[in-house]
Symmetry: C2
Subunit: 456 residues, 2 copies
């Protein structure tokens, strides 16, 4: 197979598409730390989690042993509408960089939600429907996850209540409008519809909201409304399980053409895309079958891997969620207002945190103007307008390719292009108008947030 | 081949992609009427056209005989970055409509320009580069064409000057920003940078601009600037030639699976998408090899086929362009302000006009609220948020499918899904907020514009 000519884009046939999700935890020697009940500091039981999440998702969340989860037929059918996503050989970018490196990217943006988030949204909506629920609640920041969930809920005819961070609700009316097309009910957060929202608004009347606060509101409504559960688009083990479809497709496509990546690069906010992309490759590494360099890329302004601590922390600002052990900056950390590149979550997936702590992957952080430089170079050569989030991975991939140019090495670089930037043009405008800076939190600032970590 | 299972999405392999454009005119018994010099009323010569357009494009424009044009390798390489586009079986829409009809759509929206326009933009940029030009000028309304041309020019490192209808420039800053990502120079039209712009602004100081006016400005700059030519995204014969790639891919994919469409549906503004989609099918029809129903769908508020006249008219408001014989509403016709669905050009491709006049295709018009109803049904079932333009075709395809439900016929319906609606959310918002009406011009209004047609 090795010498086949590599097409610009590799699309698997439907018959080649993966039929199961791969549960990376089954191959991890050191399992990710369990979620803890914030009241008792004991591991959350299935029963406790069942009040918040759908039953089968709770089972997936807690299951560190089952290696393969067959994807239900209903989800496979939905996947067929927008998957397989293409694995693209970046011939034009290689030429532009004049590098001997071979660059590939897995492009997850060719669906209306504009990102990989749909892979887990459809799974979570499916299990909610199967359980006979009436609807689900969630939070969204910039709106990618909310859009994905709206699409999934429209497909299964489920109610979808989205708490959207107020500043995004006001500044991103178009994302809100897309959710409306799919019939979702979108509320700016904090709102007066929840107790936690009322509390936050009375204490901080002018607040523009945060992801952590929106999570708290969405959980409160899910727990308090019969027939509803809460769903989350990143961080959780279940989400990484669903997102393994990205890596599985990539691996099948690469194996088909005899391609072996030397380095695998993904942007990391909560870790859902990176965890999905690397899953089968990391699996081989864990089983000692192959070795790969695996690199997480995060914004220098929200550096949970590179400058955070590995500790138990709250997943949300309102502190209603379980504690998760993860690389974290502290649950009330918020990136500087001028940060425009997404990936603003304060923590990181417990699975990835454990792998990073075990030295199985690396992490780098990049300043945002370099991210937008990379985004523009990529757009002009490869045609696709990338999401700022995805552009972190582009930036690191370009850095690797430029190193190859210096050394003459013909490395094979794979990165995840998680989505498109069609709804991020305010950020591009800032970049073009020279209004973007590269502010990075000081050690003192980070220490302040770290001091408020829960004592477990 | 006939009984293969039909996948949700048919992607051709690179080796199966068409290697030539098909020139429909070669098979037309009645050729489209030639462009006329507005001063002499005589057919435009290659020399006259060469002052405005690139040489090879002039040759393509005038060539009614050559059946096949090999696609240059440089363009084939660019096509590989975003083509083949998928031919999708709309299983979910069929199920929702409970119809025995089989519905297919060719989806051209999976590229950053968001539409099929890129197919011709890259060709026109290529020929400009080959001729050693410095840059090109064009106009854009909502911005699809301007974005496509910006991408194409970035690829070939050509200057790109876009005159954007002022109201769109102000209301669609994001499209403008995308063009900036690709390095284009975007000017709101009318502007003080051209004589025609100055004239229009002095006569109508508050004007928000029109497509016809922006064309006039772009032509003036192209003609007056050494090393520049003008390019146009629709209407012209050369554009339909390039867009034949849509129909060619569709035909190859359908033949591969033994699918034969009974009816082929496309939205029609200037006619570039429809002309491209139907090309090889219409070719078979013209050669007597097969028969298909072919249906153009236009907005009831801009009904050039269904309520216009077949006559020579100006292509632009400023009357600097050649005269084209086409179905037209009059070159100063502008749809009512509440019209939100695109397809607002006053005329129609001379090729399609001739075919329609010869009874080889049909046309229907649809009111805009029905178009948005169809768009939302489509988004919720097939996942893709369609452009309002494309939704005209969806609307007509749903109508055909519902007829099949009544009669029990298992017709095969093919339609063109030209693009995505990510930059059209103001229109969706109007629709959701109940602010959209179905105003249709009266006969008296149309007669007023018609009375101003040039006497040729």
């Amino acid at each position: 197979m090795a010498n086949k000519e590599i097409p610009y884009k590799i699309y698997l046939n439907e018959s080649e598409m993966p039929k199961y999700w791969y549960n990376l935890r089954a191959d991890m020697k050191n399992k990710p730390a369990p979620l803890l009940n914030p009241g008792t500091a004991k591991p959350m039981t299935a029963e406790e989690l069942g009040g918040v999440f759908c039953e089968e998702l709770v089972q997936q969340e807690l299951d560190n042993d089952t290696r393969e989860y067959p994807v239900p037929q209903e989800i496979l059918d939905f996947y067929k509408m927008y998957r397989p996503s293409p694995l693209v050989r970046a011939y034009c970018l290689e030429k532009k960089l004049n590098t001997p490196a071979k660059i590939y990217y897995k492009f997850e943006g060719n669906n209306t939600s504009g990102s990989h988030k749909l892979n887990s949204a459809i799974a979570q909506a499916y299990y909610a429907k199967k359980q006979g629920l009436k609807g689900v609640t969630t939070e969204t920041g910039a709106g990618q996850w909310g859009t994905a969930l709206s699409m999934a809920c429209a497909y299964f005819e489920l109610d979808c209540k989205v708490f959207m961070v107020k500043v995004s609700y006001e500044q991103k009316p178009f994302r809100r409008e897309v959710m409306r097309v799919y019939g979702a009910d979108v509320t700016p957060s904090p709102s007066m519809t929840t107790r936690i929202g009322q509390k936050i608004l009375s204490e901080h009347p002018g607040t523009t909201g945060s992801l952590g606060c929106a999570i708290s509101e969405a959980v409160e409504v899910a727990v308090g409304t019969p027939g509803y559960r809460y769903v989350l688009g990143s961080v959780l083990n279940q989400v990484l399980l669903h997102q393994s479809v990205i890596g599985m497709e990539t691996k099948i496509a690469m194996d088909k053409y005899g391609i072996r990546p030397d380095v695998i690069i993904g942007c990391a906010g909560g870790g859902s895309n990176l965890g999905g992309l690397i899953a089968p490759f990391m699996g081989e590494k864990l089983r000692g079958e192959a070795d790969y360099r695996i690199v997480a890329v995060e914004p220098a302004s929200c550096p949970s891997f590179t400058r955070g601590v590995y500790a138990y922390d709250f997943a949300d600002t309102g502190m209603v969620c379980p504690l998760a052990k993860m690389y974290t900056l502290g649950s009330d950390f918020i990136p500087a207002p001028n940060h425009a590149g997404g990936l603003r979550y304060h923590g990181m997936s417990p699975i990835l945190s454990q792998l990073y702590n075990d030295g199985l992957m690396e992490a780098v952080s990049v300043p945002q103007t370099r991210v937008f430089d990379a985004a523009e170079t990529f757009a002009r050569t490869e045609g696709i307008l990338p999401a700022p989030e995805s552009s972190h991975a582009i930036c690191a991939a370009i850095d690797e390719a430029m190193k190859c140019r210096e050394t003459g090495e013909e490395k094979t670089i794979l990165f995840g292009l998680t989505g498109t930037g069609y709804f991020d043009l305010v950020a591009y405008q800032k970049y073009h108008d020279g209004l973007m800076d590269d502010y990075v939190p000081t050690d003192e600032e980070l220490a302040k947030f770290r001091a408020r970590l829960p004592k477990v």
